[in-house]
Symmetry: C2
Subunit: 80 residues, 2 copies
């Protein structure tokens, strides 16, 4: 079953990659670009009988590897 | 107005980062992890009067910088 893990920086954590993208956009002529934040989406196919089991596996994977919970939040959704 | 740009590899394009994550998950004891694909989400705050204008700006930014259209697809959504 497919699960999707969204991993984003916690609020208040600086996003240097986003900052660099914001500057690059300004240099390309896009005016008044506000804050830019970059997140990751990890799409996985896990063996699970139910959507709930798939989400639980996705959460375990996020805690173990996909997200750094010190600075990142994650959210897991079962996909089709 | 906030826009969200999803950038993902086109189907058929190899995802070495996803492959590495898949192997790492197997090594951590997660069995039978299928294909892993990693995408980016860029959240931007752009000056726009309407959601449609914001989406158009997001698309222009994606074409100019955020996505490599040779190997990546993108999708833009207006957020709240």
């Amino acid at each position: 079953m497919k699960v999707r893990v969204f991993v984003s920086l916690k609020e208040g954590v600086l996003d240097p990659q986003g900052k660099a993208v914001g500057h690059a956009l300004e240099n390309l002529g896009f005016r008044d670009v506000g804050e830019v934040r970059i997140s990751r989406v990890v799409d996985l196919d896990v063996p699970a009988a139910t959507a709930q089991e798939a989400v639980e596996k996705g959460e375990a994977m996020a805690r173990a590897l996909l997200a750094n919970e010190v600075i990142e939040d994650f959210r897991v959704e079962a996909a089709s």
